[in-house]
């Protein structure tokens, strides 16, 4: 008897399974979930594969630093779990004007800048995109672009590079002569002491 029930069970379950796939075949137009990249890029609000991205609360994309706002507090360096941010700073005297670095004035939030940031490197090969560096920044100058930050920088998630040296993002804008001069000054001060 099990013989015949096996045959019957086989026929019915296989036919039910075939019905599922053939229904999908005929409803193909509405059900397709493929996004034909790069012709159709995400997000694409008209096709219902996800949601509209203007209601994002947070985003993980390319890291960007507004150097004009950075005060060199090193909080992001301490927050990074993989130590991919490296910052070097120099103390500046009040009133010195360095054009390339926003004239050492005030940030957009009104804080007085007291440190000149001469090196701000983020090694993207080590970055794990955890977003932990963006939370402690007091000036909100380090952020991931797009989404809620799209007024500052539009979204960019296609940032692969052809050259390995371009993977290290160097944000500091101080010219190298200036850096060398300050380093030399510091050396002279040390030897003078």
């Amino acid at each position: 008897m099990r013989y015949f029930s096996n045959i019957w069970q086989a026929i019915t379950t296989l036919l039910i399974g075939m019905r599922v796939t053939i229904v999908h075949f005929f409803k193909a137009r509405k059900g397709i979930v493929t996004l034909q990249y790069p012709v159709e890029r995400w997000p694409r609000p008209e096709r219902n594969i996800g949601f509209s991205f203007d209601s994002y609360n947070v985003i993980r994309s390319r890291l960007h630093v507004d150097m004009d706002d950075c005060i060199g507090c090193l909080k992001c360096v301490r927050a990074c779990p993989v130590d991919c941010i490296r910052i070097e700073t120099f103390k500046v005297e009040k009133g010195v004007d360095i054009p390339e670095a926003n004239h050492i004035g005030v940030t957009s939030q009104g804080t007085q800048k007291r440190l000149l940031v001469t090196r701000f490197d983020i090694d993207m090969t080590e970055c794990c995109y955890c977003n932990l560096c963006t939370y402690p920044c007091p000036e909100e100058c380090i952020y991931m672009v797009g989404g809620p930050n799209s007024s500052k920088h539009e979204i960019d998630y296609e940032f692969s590079e052809y050259d390995r040296n371009n993977i290290i993002y160097r944000f500091a804008k101080v010219p190298p002569e200036e850096v060398a001069r300050r380093k030399a000054e510091k050396e002279m001060e040390k030897t003078a002491l």
Binding site: L14, T21, I49, S55, Y56, V58, C130, L132
Partner: protein
């Protein structure tokens, strides 16, 4: 269970063949090497070799602070990442004695259960792939994409979230997330019916998985197997009921166990079916949590400025989709943990494969491995 291997078969000297089901698998479970000794097609011994994915996570955690550990913990079981964070956060909070607000508890439960659904969808899809059915795999992934879209709306990341922090969560829900989650749950519950029609009750699938790779309950307990693998063998043990850790006592849900409906108790079909039923139960929990959750509240209220637990040690376990995930944390009073050890449920599952796969054929090894649902990131850490 198996074939009694006997070399002296008259004058024919039959040798065993040693096969390497190598680190690069066609069946996607990660980099696992199985050294299989077979006599013709029947297996006589299997040795799993692990360690290809070892990333020294526990050593890393001894050098970074408690908050910075969370990205590392995400990456252990990368498929059910929220559940890892949940376990860690609950452990450290108990060590520090923090009470978290109700809204945060609800958010954590919703997110953890959604991730459980996503993880089980992947498990079901890959069992189908191992057996040769390509279509259910793609259907499961299509639905998993919708969960990942929900998570992306919530915290920006699809797979490794860094969302559940010690003392709270990193962000509140964005506008419209709750409605989208309701939509998803309404869309998802009929889909389980579709998976059942296509794969679960398919006669060929039943022939492949029923009565294969039977894991008896006493063997499972002696190896320390937990989670759906243990529940598939008939024992109704679930840490959300038996070792209560969050607000799980406020929800009504069943705990499915394997009953040997299509073969014996504890075979591959039972383990598979337990996962399918668990997805239904998780969907129920998410719906109840969304209904009961308070909409106002500050999720950042109890996040401590600096996490500096008192000196001591603690072991706490939570229910991840793979089983009983345990965290053992030794703290010496500084912001950097002294030792974090993660007790991985998939490690015990892969260690019992020799017991249950002996005597079956080579094609069955893939099915058994698929039904145990291992993730190498968790085994190797």
């Amino acid at each position: 269970m198996g074939v009694e291997h006997d070399h002296e078969l008259g004058v024919i000297h039959a040798e065993e063949m040693v096969l390497n089901v190598g680190p690069q698998h066609p069946s996607t479970h990660g980099v696992l090497r199985l050294k299989v000794q077979t006599d013709g097609e029947i297996i006589t011994k299997i040795d799993p070799y692990i360690g290809y994915l070892h990333r020294c996570f526990e050593k890393h955690c001894e050098n970074v602070t408690y908050e910075q550990c969370i990205p590392y913990i995400d990456r252990c079981d990368y498929i059910a990442s929220m559940n890892n964070d949940f376990g860690y956060a609950v452990t450290v909070e108990q060590l520090m004695g923090i009470e978290i607000p109700e809204k945060v508890e609800y958010i954590r439960v919703i997110v953890a259960e959604l991730n459980r659904i996503a993880s089980h969808l992947l498990a079901i899809g890959t069992i189908g792939l191992d057996v040769g059915a390509f279509t259910p795999f793609l259907y499961c992934f299509r639905d998993r994409e919708r969960i990942l879209d929900l998570f992306e709306m919530l915290c920006g990341a699809r797979l490794l979230y860094n969302y559940i922090w010690v003392g709270g969560v990193s962000h509140d829900f964005p506008v419209g997330w709750v409605e989208k989650t309701y939509e998803f749950i309404d869309y998802f519950e009929p889909k389980i019916h579709e998976y059942n029609e296509l794969l679960t009750y398919n006669k060929i699938f039943i022939e492949r998985t029923a009565d294969v790779g039977i894991l008896p309950v006493d063997v499972a307990i002696s190896y320390g197997v937990t989670g759906p693998n243990l529940r598939g063998s008939g024992l109704r043990w679930d840490l959300r009921r038996d070792d209560l850790y969050s607000i799980y006592d406020q929800f009504e849900f069943d705990i499915p166990v394997g009953t040997g409906a299509m073969g014996s108790v504890g075979d591959c079909w039972d383990r598979y079916y337990v996962r399918v039923r668990e997805m239904e139960e998780s969907a129920k929990i998410v719906r109840q949590a969304l209904d009961q959750m308070p909409r106002e509240g500050d999720v950042h209220a109890t996040i401590p400025r600096k996490i500096r637990p008192p000196k001591g040690q603690i072991y706490k376990r939570t229910e991840s989709p793979r089983g009983d995930l345990g965290f053992y944390i030794i703290s010496d009073g500084s912001p950097i943990p002294f030792r974090i050890k993660l007790r991985s449920p998939a490690f015990t599952a892969v260690s019992c494969i020799n017991e249950i796969a002996r005597g079956w054929m080579l094609s069955d090894v893939m099915v058994i491995l698929g039904s145990l649902d291992i993730v190498l990131g968790e085994i190797d850490r």
